[in-house]
Amino acid sequence: MTETRTAPREKIDAMKSKEAIVNELSMVVATVNGSGSQTSNLAIIRSLFRMGIPVSGKNLFPSNIQGLPTWFTIRASSEGYTARRDRVEILVAMNPATFKEDLRDLVSGGVCFYDDRFTIPQERSDIVYYPMPVRALVKEMDPPKELRDYIANMAYVGVVAKMLGIEMEEIRGALMTHFQSKQSAVDLNMRMIQAAASWAEKNLSKQDPYRIERIDQTQDLLLIDGNTASALGAIYGGVGFAAWYPITPASSLADALEEYLPQLRKDEETGKATYVVIQAEDELAAIGMAVGAGWAGARSMTSTSGPGISLMAEFAGLAFFAEIPIVVWDVQRMGPSTGLPTRTSQADILFVRFLGHGDTKQVMLLPGSIAECFEFGWRAFDLAERLQTPIFVLSDLDLGMNLWMSEKFTYPSQPFDRGKILTAEDLDRIGEFARYRDVDGDGITYRTLPGTDHPLAAYFTRGTGHTEKAVYSESADDWDFNFDRIIRKLETARDMLPRPMISTDEDARIGLIAYGSTDPAIREARDRLKMEDISTDYLRIRSVPFAPKVGTFIREHDIVYVLEMNTDGQMHKLLQLEVPDQAAKLISLTHNNGLPLSARWVVEAILAHEGG
C-alpha cells in the first residue's frame, strides 16, 4: 500500500521563453453545447493518448441540451500530471459568445485558434492567433446536411493537429475507437480533418512554442471514464439486478450497464439475459427494487446522485437495520437541491455516512481512480453480501464522467464471496435457524434466501424491532442485544474494507489526507511542495468506517491537512469523531466551487497555512 516517489521536475516556467515546449499544455475547446463537438474533442485527446502522451480530459458543460457554452479541457503532461489546471495555453475558440472571456484566461504567449468569422479583440496582443476558415472548408467539402455541424467541428481538429504536430494516423485510430470501427463515418470525418490540415499547412506559419511529439508513456493504459469502469466492475462482479432513475452525473453508469451486459451476459444457448436492469419510476422505487432483489439473493445495485440519495434515505435505513445486501453508487454532484448538476463535488460524505433516521451508519467505499471504480464495482458486492448491509460507493462527476488514464483493470482476484447463506442442506444438518443470532461472534449472522425448500428456512424481514428469530419485539433488552450486535458487525467491517493508500516521504512532519477524485491534484501538489522543501506524507482514505491505520497516520504527524471538495470539511469532521484526542491537529482545507481540485490550489492553501 506504500509507493515511492520520483524526483519532481518543473517545466511550467519554460513557457515564457520561446524554446519549444513539448508535450506540456492545457487546451480548452470552447463550444456551444449540442453542436456536436464531443467527437472532435475526443479525437484530439485520444490521439494524444495514442501518441504516448499522458492526458486527461474534463468537460465543463451546462445543464442544458443545446445552445449554452461548453468547455472541453485537455491537459497533456509528459510528467504524467492529470489534475485540472487553471492556466490555459491553447484556446480553440468556437463560441463567439464566450470568445472575450475565454481569451482572458489564456496565458501570455499562449495560442488562440479561432473561427475566422470572429473579430479579435484588441486587448490581447500577447498571444498567437491562428484563424480557421471553418465555413469555407465546410462549403468546399459539402457534407450531408444533417452531419454539417459535426463535420464543421472536425475543421479545428485538422488545424490544431497540423500546428501542434498531432499525427494524422492516430487521429484516425481515435476515430476508429469512437465510431467502433465504422469505416464510412471515420472516412467522412477524416476528409474534413485532412482538408483543414492541408489548409493550415499552406496558409499558417508556426509562431508558438507548443509541440506534440510521440513518447511512450501510455503503453498498457486505458483512456476511459469512471462510470463505464464502475459498470464494468459491477458486471465482472456478477451483478444480477440493477435499478436506476435518470440523473446527471450517474446516468452514464446505468447506460454502460445497458451497453455491456447484453454483450457479456447473455445465456449462450438461449440468448436470454442472466441479469435485469430496470429504469424505475423514481429513485425511491429504484432502491426499493434493489433491496427486494438483494433480499431475494441477487447481486443487486442502484446508481444515482445527491437528489436521488435524498429520496433513498428511508430504504437505506431499512436495508441497514434489516441487514440486506445492496450496492448504491452515488456519483456526487454540486450543491444542495438541484445545485449545479453538471459540476463536481464531494459533499455527500456526511449525508451518506448517516443516511437513514435513527442510528443508521452506512459503510462507504471511496474510489480514487478509474481502476478503483472497476475494482470497487465488483468488490462492493462481496462486501455487501459478506456484511449484509448496504455498501455505498461514492464517486463524483469528475471521476464518473470525465476521461482519465487508467491502469488496465485487474480481473477479480478472488471468487465471489456470497457471505453467510444457509441452504436447505445446511438447515437439515443444523436443525434450527435464527436469522439474527451471532453464531460466529463477528456480528454477522446467517440468512436464508426466499424459495429455500426447507420448513425451517423462513423468517420475517422487518424494519421493526426484533428478536434473534426475527420476531417483532418492543423489549428493551431485545433492542439492545440486536443493535449492539449490528455495531459489532460494523467493527468487523473495518478490517474487511479497502485499506487506505499511504505514500510517505523522508522526515515529513506534515500529513495530507484526501480521498476520491482529488488524488491527481494532491500528488502533483506534493511534488511542487517538495520543490519548496516541504515534505509531506499522504494518506488516501478508501473506506469508512476507517481502518485502524488512519488513526495511526494522524498520530504520527505534527499536523494533518484534510483536503476535500465540500464546504464544511465533512471528512475532517468524521476524522475528528474518529480520533477526538487528535482533533486539534486536523486542519480542514476545503474547495467547493464545482471545479475539480487543482494542484495550485492545494499548494497555495498549504503554503498559506504553513506560512501563517
Binding site: G240, D267, T270, A273, L449
Partner: protein, 350 residues
C-alpha cells in the same frame, strides 16, 4: 397459546398434494382487533394456498406499513416475509420476483398504503405487470394512527374524530384498469367463499393480480352508514357472478345450462368458471368494466367478483427476456464473464 384465527381450522387433518396439513400454512396469532376484516382475509389466504397445494416455501409474502401490512405475520409461517416501507412494497416485490422468478409473491397492502402514499408504485407495478398477487385490505381509514380518513373514504362520510370527508374517493380497481392491469377483482371480507375463490384465481394468474377486498375496520369505520362496514357490505353486496376456481386435471363436475357459465383458461392449466347471476357480465371487456365501476361507484351497491381478466399480457420477467433459471440460482461461471472478455472490452479504450 392464545387462540388465533388460523388455529380454528387445525381440525382438518387431511394432507394436500404436497403432503401438508392446513396447520402447516398457519401464521402467528393475530394482534389485530377482534373481528377485523383482515383476519378473515388471512384465513382465506391460508385456505387458498392449502387447497391449491402450493408449498409455502415457494411463496414470499410482502407488505408495506399499516394494519393490513402487519397481517402477513398471521399466515404462512413457512413462507419468507418482508414487512417493508409505507407504500413501497411494489418495489420490493419487483426486485424479489426478478431475482427469483420461481417464487410466488403475495403482497398485502391497505388503502392508505396503496391509494395514498403508494399510488405511484402501485401504478408502475401494474404498468410493468410484476407477477404477484396484490391484495388491498380496504377499510377507508388509517387504523394504526387512530382513525384518519384514507383516500378511499367516501365523499361526505362522517367520522367521529375527524368530521366530514370532502374529497372523492380513489377507486383502486378503476386505477388498476386504467393502468392496464390484467386481473382486477373486488371482494368483501364478509364473503369469505368468494374471497377464497378470487385468491385462487389470482394465484393462478401470471401477471399482477389486484384483489381489492373491502375489509371493515371494527374500531374506526364500522358504523352502518359507512360503505366500508360489515352491515353495509352485507346488505349491499352485488356479486357480478358466482366464480369458482377449478384446478388442473379436475373435470368440471357441475352441469350448467348452455349460456349459464363462461370459462377462462388460466396459464397454469386451471380454469375459472363464472356462473351467471342476475345480469350478463363479461370480465374480458375492459371498457365495460370501467363503465360498470363508474356507474356503480356511488350507486349504493358493493359490486364484487372478477371485474376484468386478460391473461395474454406478458409478465415482467418475460418482457425483460430473462433466463428461465432464477437469477439467484446462477453460478459464478455464468455471472462473471471471462478474463479474455475483459481484455477485449479494454481494447476499445486504447
Amino acid at each position: 397459546m392464545t387462540a388465533s384465527i388460523s388455529e380454528k381450522d387445525v381440525s382438518n387433518k387431511n394432507v394436500n398434494k404436497v403432503g401438508l396439513e392446513k396447520a402447516d400454512y398457519k401464521g402467528l396469532p393475530t394482534t389485530l382487533c377482534q373481528g377485523c376484516g383482515h383476519n378473515s382475509i388471512s384465513s382465506q389466504i391460508i385456505a387458498a394456498c392449502y387447497e391449491m397445494s402450493i408449498k409455502p416455501e415457494r411463496i414470499v409474502k410482502l407488505s408495506g406499513i399499516g394494519c393490513s401490512s402487519k397481517s402477513p405475520t398471521y399466515f404462512l409461517n413457512r413462507s419468507q416475509g418482508f414487512n417493508s416501507l409505507h407504500g413501497r412494497m411494489p418495489s420490493i416485490a419487483t426486485g424479489a420476483v426478478l431475482a427469483n422468478r420461481s417464487v410466488k409473491a403475495i403482497g398485502v397492502s391497505g388503502d392508505g398504503d396503496t391509494a395514498s402514499i403508494g399510488i405511484g408504485q402501485f401504478i408502475h407495478m401494474l404498468r410493468r405487470n410484476v407477477p404477484m398477487v396484490y391484495i388491498i385490505e380496504n377499510n377507508g381509514v388509517y387504523g394504526l394512527t387512530k382513525g384518519q380518513f384514507s383516500a378511499t373514504a367516501d365523499k361526505g362520510q362522517v367520522l367521529k374524530k375527524i368530521g366530514v370527508n370532502p374529497f372523492m374517493p380513489v377507486d383502486v380497481c378503476m386505477e388498476a384498469l386504467i393502468a392496464n392491469c390484467g386481473f382486477v377483482a373486488r371482494s368483501f371480507a364478509g364473503d369469505p367463499k368468494q374471497v377464497k375463490e378470487l385468491l385462487k384465481a389470482a394465484l393462478s394468474f401470471k401477471g399482477t393480480a389486484v384483489v381489492d377486498i373491502i375489509s371493515p375496520c371494527v374500531t374506526f369505520n364500522n358504523r352502518g352508514e359507512s360503505t366500508k362496514s360489515y352491515t353495509w357490505g352485507k346488505a349491499h353486496e352485488y356479486p357480478l357472478h358466482d366464480v369458482t376456481w377449478v384446478p388442473k386435471r379436475d373435470e368440471i363436475q357441475v352441469d350448467y345450462k348452455p349460456g349459464e357459465v363462461t370459462e377462462v383458461d388460466m396459464h397454469d392449466g386451471s380454469t375459472l368458471v363464472f356462473k351467471k347471476l342476475e345480469q350478463d357480465y363479461n370480465p374480458r371487456d375492459r371498457m365495460a368494466a370501467l363503465q360498470m365501476l363508474e356507474e356503480t361507484c356511488c350507486g349504493g351497491v358493493l359490486v364484487t367478483g372478477l371485474i376484468f381478466i386478460n391473461e395474454e399480457q406478458a409478465p415482467l420477467p418475460d418482457i425483460e427476456e430473462m433466463v428461465e433459471t432464477p437469477l439467484v440460482h446462477l453460478t459464478e461461471e455464468v455471472l462473471r464473464p471471462s478474463k479474455e472478455s475483459l481484455e477485449q472490452v479494454m481494447e476499445a479504450f486504447r
